[in-house]
């Protein structure tokens, strides 16, 4: 935004410092970075076509040709996992992004203005949270139709209360800060005070929430697909893969479930562990 003058630590140096002091964050960051790279490059990385069935080589255990084995239609599970990373991550990022933007803005204004608006939004959020959230998501997808956009919307809606409440609480604490008053004295309107001053200051704390939520949103999307209310077969998606593979687990065909499950677990773990480290990186006050 402005000229950077010597005397501050560079951002890269700072990130490296945080990671060095916190190896768990470093591992989580590696995991998440790897996942993002896979998601982007999946079509080129996948050794086989993830949808083309090859019935003669169905249900083969992991081998040199098929690292994670093949499923009941002979599709390469490894390729399907790579492609599914792309879809699952897209759903999770869009859903969390949507609920973050809406939640932060709504919560931010409620926390800043208070009064009737705040009370009403607060009650609506309470009502939303009174539902079992996964059931609410199921109901939403069932009502809106079984499409990817609707999965994103459903996941966003069930995440919304957390962001709204969080932003409201954090902004509420800061709304009487001297620097908010100072911004008003500098001629800033109420709206810009919330958007340009309060929300950026709340961001480091929210980053933790975002990271934790991403893992949860992936689990949620997979869960919806698992019960048949999500992405439809034959699209590769971790939830569907686990659901379809579950039928074969009794006959000892463990790889159908184990590898997509492992991918799911590592992803959720990665996002959850990243949370705390992110806060340290994003908060300028940690940068001494």
């Amino acid at each position: 935004m402005s000229a950077t003058v010597a005397g501050t630590r560079s951002t890269t140096q700072h990130i490296l410092f945080v990671l060095r002091g916190n190896p768990v964050t470093a591992i989580a960051a590696t995991l998440v970075t790897l996942l993002v790279v896979i998601a982007i490059l999946a079509p080129w990385l996948a050794p086989y076509d993830p949808i083309a069935s090859d019935v003669p080589s169905a249900l083969q255990p992991p081998s040199a040709a098929h690292w994670a084995g093949t499923d009941q239609l002979g599709r390469d599970i490894f390729s399907r996992i790579l492609l599914a990373a792309r879809l699952d991550l897209f759903i999770a990022v869009s859903a969390v992004g949507l609920s973050f933007v809406v939640g932060a803005v709504v919560g931010g204004f409620c926390g800043y203005r208070g009064g009737r608006l705040d009370r009403w939004v607060g009650r609506i959020v309470d009502v939303l949270m009174a539902f079992p959230l996964f059931v609410l998501a199921m109901a939403l997808v069932a009502a809106l139709g079984n499409r990817m956009e609707n999965i994103i919307i459903a996941t966003a809606v069930i995440n919304l209360p957390f962001y709204t409440r969080f932003a409201r609480a954090e902004v509420n604490v800061r709304r009487n800060s001297g620097w908010v008053e100072a911004a008003r004295a500098c001629g800033e309107s109420h709206m810009m005070v919330v958007l340009r001053f309060l929300l950026p200051n709340v961001l480091p704390a929210m980053a933790v929430q975002i990271s934790l939520n991403l893992g949860w949103a992936i689990l949620n999307a997979a869960g919806l697909s698992f019960i048949g209310l999500g992405v439809q077969a034959p699209t590769p998606e971790w939830g569907i893969m686990v659901a379809e593979g579950a039928r074969f687990i009794t006959t000892g065909k463990w790889w159908l479930v184990a590898f997509p499950g492992l991918a799911l677990m590592l992803t959720v773990l990665g996002f959850n562990l990243l949370g705390d480290g992110l806060r340290d990186i994003l908060d300028p006050r940690m940068r001494t």
């Binding site: 001297g178 008053e181 001629g187």
Partner: protein, 552 residues
């Protein structure tokens, strides 16, 4: 002579930080006998508080005693086991903290908290502890002690909370009491009452006291001996009178010079600074009205009149001090004049135009926004943590003058910064990378950047060390002279207002009790309340008779 109660020998304390190990205390030593009062004075970062924490062995995990020893009642406690320390703390030595409200547990009643201390160290039953707690509350002269026993800390005023803290600290009759800035944040009149009480109680009980303070006046009034600390070293120590009469170390001298007294002028405060030439301003041409006219302003907060029918005027280039204790309405008043909050009655007229009727929420669009600027009390709190100094100063220029990034903006920011005495190299830093004085300068640069005609200053130096206060006051005075800037100076410190302002308005409970030229109000106060305020300021008079001192 008996053995000293506390003997600190060559104490060294290290802190491990992100940038390696930092030595906070470079081998300090002092001795304290039973019944004595030692004042440790110094500015922020001098190691005063670290000293007290090291003596109490309450350093946090990052801190470590790296050398030297602390002898308490002849015992070396530097290497004492945690269990032994626990029985010492509270019983043989206790501490009063700076912020009494934060140091009290908000969800336990006053009585419970005092009883906790008593029962932690003595085998007594609840009824007996209750009786003793009541006696203690009486001793610290809390009004209506029976009723206050069941009060929670949030139901008590700051002064009352500090009395409860004192009651807890003296509950087990410790031999040593450490008071770390016990009255910072309290009004001067409350400060005087609390300190007199503390001095009386400790004298009665023969306790030794270490008073840690940044206020030389306070130390001079209540301590028998004083140690002056600078950057982790005791640069000078000795009996109070001798120290003030004949300070040896240059730092002590500088500190004494920077502390405002009854007679000091701005030029006295920062010695070595170039003298300020009095600017003779041509009298305003007849017919021009005052710059600011406050007419019968009223502000109601849930029924009570926080500001009650206040009127005064400031002429262009003039300066007016608004004095009062917390709750007097001075901050509310300044916010109304600055149009950050709406008044419930009356009007604010600026350059002949009524601005009091523009709602505060729309005032950011008013043309007068850039003419009326404000410098806030707490320099840390008033800067956006995510803005660099440059962005903070550029903010009013971007918003109020519509300036875009570019050389013109950079030039204006640099100019404002240099007028506020802020080095250009510091502009890229975030607030947490700046010292208190530097942050204060950023706040001032931000306020003067849009070239206002009226500058409101809300206790601009209350959070600063005296030597920095001296520099900032001079800076403000120079800005006023050079730019014909009118100042409205809100402060609880009558000395500072006297030096800075031509006119003074004294507020009590939202009402004006006295107004007039500041020299007159200061020298010959008309109202009883003004006199009380003046008397409560702990002055130190290097040459005055020691009768003013309360000896512990």
């Amino acid at each position: 002579m008996t053995a000293p109660l506390l003997q600190v020998e060559d104490l060294k304390v290290d802190f491990s930080t992100r940038n390696g190990i930092v030595r906070a205390l470079h081998g300090i030593g002092f001795t304290l006998h039973a019944g004595e009062t030692l004042g440790i004075v110094g500015e922020s970062g001098s190691g005063k508080s670290v000293t007290s924490l090291a003596v109490m062995r309450l350093l946090d995990r990052a801190g470590r005693i790296a050398g030297g020893r602390v002898l308490f009642q002849g015992r070396d406690i530097t290497r004492a086991a945690p269990g032994d320390l626990r029985s010492l703390r509270g019983a043989a030595m206790s501490m009063i903290f700076q912020n009494p409200r934060a140091a009290l547990n908000p969800i336990r009643t006053v009585a419970q908290q005092i009883m906790d201390v008593l029962r932690a160290h003595r085998r007594i039953d609840a009824a007996e502890a209750r009786q003793q707690a009541l006696d203690l509350l009486k001793a610290v002269r809390i009004r209506d002690p029976e009723r206050r026993m069941s009060a929670y800390p949030n139901e008590l005023s700051g002064g009352m909370c500090q009395r409860v803290m004192i009651a807890m600290a003296i509950a087990c009759e410790p031999a040593l009491l450490i008071a770390d800035e016990p009255t910072t944040g309290l009004d001067v009149t409350t400060q005087k009452v609390v300190m007199d009480l503390l001095a009386g109680l400790t004298a009665e009980r023969g306790m030794a006291v270490i008073l840690i303070t940044h206020d030389l006046g306070l130390a001079a009034r209540y301590c028998g001996a004083i140690a002056v600390m600078e950057q982790g070293r005791i640069v000078e120590q000795g009996p109070t009178e001798a120290l003030f009469r004949d300070a040896q170390h240059p730092y002590t001298r500088r500190l004494i010079a920077a502390s405002p007294t009854r007679r000091s002028t701005l030029a006295d405060l920062a010695q070595g600074a170039p003298p300020v030439e009095p600017v003779s301003r041509p009298p305003p041409p007849p017919g021009t009205g005052p710059l600011l006219e406050v007419q019968k302003l009223v502000k109601l907060y849930s029924g009570t009149r926080a500001v009650d029918d206040v009127s005064f005027t400031i002429s262009a280039g003039g300066s007016l001090g608004l004095v009062g204790e917390s709750g007097s309405g001075k901050t509310t008043l300044s916010r109304m004049i600055c149009r950050l909050i709406d008044a419930d009655g009356g009007d604010v007229v600026f350059q002949g135009e009524s601005i009091g009727h523009i709602p505060a929420r729309d005032f950011h669009k008013a043309p007068q926004r850039r003419d009326v600027q404000i410098v806030f009390q707490d320099p840390t709190d008033s800067l956006n943590p995510r803005f660099t100094a440059f962005d903070s100063i550029a903010h009013p220029l971007r918003r109020l003058e519509g300036m875009r990034d570019g050389s013109a903006l950079t030039a204006r920011v640099t100019e404002a910064a240099s007028r506020a005495g802020l080095e250009p190299a510091l502009l890229g830093r975030f607030p947490h990378q700046l010292s208190g004085g530097q942050k204060a300068r950023v706040g001032i640069a931000r306020a003067v950047a849009p070239r206002p005609k009226l500058l409101l200053l809300d206790e601009p130096t209350a959070a600063l060390d005296v030597s920095i206060q001296a520099v900032i006051l001079q800076l403000l005075d120079r800005l006023r002279r050079e730019d014909d800037l009118a100042l409205l100076f809100v402060s609880h410190d009558l000395n500072v207002v006297r030096m800075m302002c031509d006119q003074m308005v004294v507020l009590q409970a939202g009402k004006i009790v006295e107004a007039g030229p500041s020299m007159r109000v200061f020298e010959a106060p008309g109202a009883e309340y003004t006199r009380t305020l003046l008397d409560a300021i702990p002055h130190f008079e290097p040459n005055a008779a020691p009768a003013d001192r309360v000896d512990a």
